[in-house]
């Protein structure tokens, strides 16, 4: 890995985003708008506080999954990936470049949504706001890494977009947001056990409800981080220098 190439890749992706202001505005504001909508749907700061932290993790996860899978698919179909593969660029330079660029976007996205939720929508967080931010940023990173990975199996934008409901919605349904995980049947419970988003949501809920930093919290955060790194590694394995 070469730091200068990684940073050049990050700069390039951010420059691409800069030329697409509408995407930037949506990236920054869409989760916030959704939180706002949610607040009005529940019409109660208390209920909102119960469900909002989990969604602060789910929204960036979904959005980063989509953005990452489409951008890498574009990189593959436009031939720029093949071109980069003939150059002295390591696979991890590319992936780390992507992770850094989208990670920055995700932090911005989550920061705005959290700030609005805390100061305007009546969200109360017992733990530190920084740990909330850390976990949501990790969620975004996880979504991005998964998006990068599955985009390798998409041959068209149509397929890539449909991977979202396939890979993301089941995780959102089973993460404990709609139904407590303990109350699920054993099959569903097992499924939710192997889905990384469950641990992210658990961590987020914990930070909102308690100021203590427990072992479970550390474990949950490490699981999310581990899954993101694993997905990035798998993503790297799908980047081939030689193709048929």
């Amino acid at each position: 890995m070469t730091a200068s190439i990684t940073l050049a890749t990050t700069r390039r992706i951010l420059a691409q985003l800069r030329h697409d202001p509408r995407t930037v505005v949506m990236l920054v504001l869409v989760p916030t708008l959704l939180m706002l909508l949610l607040r009005f749907v529940f019409n109660s700061a208390e209920v909102f506080s119960r469900i909002a932290p989990a969604l602060l993790g789910v929204f960036p996860f979904v959005i980063m999954f989509l953005i990452a899978s489409i951008t890498t698919l574009r990189e593959r179909t436009a031939g720029t990936l093949e071109r980069l593969m003939t150059m002295p660029l390591g696979k991890f330079d590319l992936l780390a470049g992507y992770a850094l660029a989208f990670g920055l976007v995700a932090v911005l996205q989550v920061a705005v949504a959290t700030a609005v939720s805390l100061w305007w929508l009546g969200l109360t967080v017992a733990g530190s706001v920084w740990s909330l931010l850390l976990i949501t940023a990790l969620d975004a990173l996880l979504g991005m890494a998964l998006g990068l990975f599955v985009s390798a199996f998409a041959t068209s934008e149509f397929q890539a977009v449909q991977f979202m409901p396939l890979f993301v919605l089941p995780q959102a349904l089973l993460c404990g947001l709609f139904q407590p995980r303990d109350e699920m049947g054993w099959v569903l419970h097992w499924l939710s056990d192997v889905m990384p988003l469950s641990y992210a949501v658990e961590a987020l809920t914990q930070v909102t409800h308690s100021a203590d930093w427990t072992m479970t919290l550390t474990r949950n955060i490490l699981i999310v981080l581990g899954c993101a790194v694993l997905a990035l590694g798998l993503g790297a394995a799908t980047l081939r220098r030689r193709t048929p």
């Binding site: 200068s4 890749t9 700069r11 390039r12 031939g79 071109r83 003939t86 002295p88 220098r241 193709t243």
Partner: protein, 273 residues
Amino acid sequence: MKGTLTDSESLRVPLTDICQPRPCLTGKFRARRINRMINSAVVIDGLRVVRGGRDVLRDVSFRVEAGSVTGLLGPSGCGKTTLMRAVVGVQLTHGGTVTVLGEPAGSRRLRSRIGYATQAPAVYADLTVTEALRYFASVLGAPSRSVADAIEQVGLGSHADALVGRLSGGQRSRASLAVALLGKPELLVLDEPTVGLDPLLREHLWNLFHRLAAAGTTLLVSSHVMDEAARCTRLLLMRDGALLADDSPDALRAATGEQDLERAFLHLVKAQR
């Protein structure tokens, strides 16, 4: 059907090519030629590529002399792109060897020594020409000065700050060519670089290719337009995944008795049957 070297041939041949082997139709004298010590930028021996159960390249062998402008010609779908991909090391191969600048194709050390431009322009459409080139230059470790140089070389100076996606097809393919020129690579592999360009621009680019070759760069340029063949110092004619001829344009004319290279190609196809 062995052709004789005519005097006029040496007009286009750069100095490095003077001791090139006698031209001959491919296959016949391959073994002898491969044994000869020539300064070759690319040496391909018995290359085979299978894709989708079909032989896309069948036992292809040739060498590209250093400092030459070698044209890779043949109808579309004959395997030109696959062959070029094998040279730059992104093609999975199923037999034979590809040696580029003394190293096996695709090896790490080659990655900053080869410039490659694919047929479809591979440049980020949502960046300006300068931004896109600056990124590729930093990946290659090329000096930042080389960005402006490359843009100037392909005649895109007036569009340096335009978004690649807003350029015309021809301009976009020149932007892609400019990426290949970054960092002054020793070998340029260009897949149909002049497609869709007007005659003036084509003239401009071919002059550029010869200037680069005179300065020591080796160029492997594909085309499916036969009138570009005459501009090459050496021609590789392909058909159906096999090499039909490996010769200089003049020797090819002499060998086939045709003045027009397109007719010479047809002559070879018929002779093969």
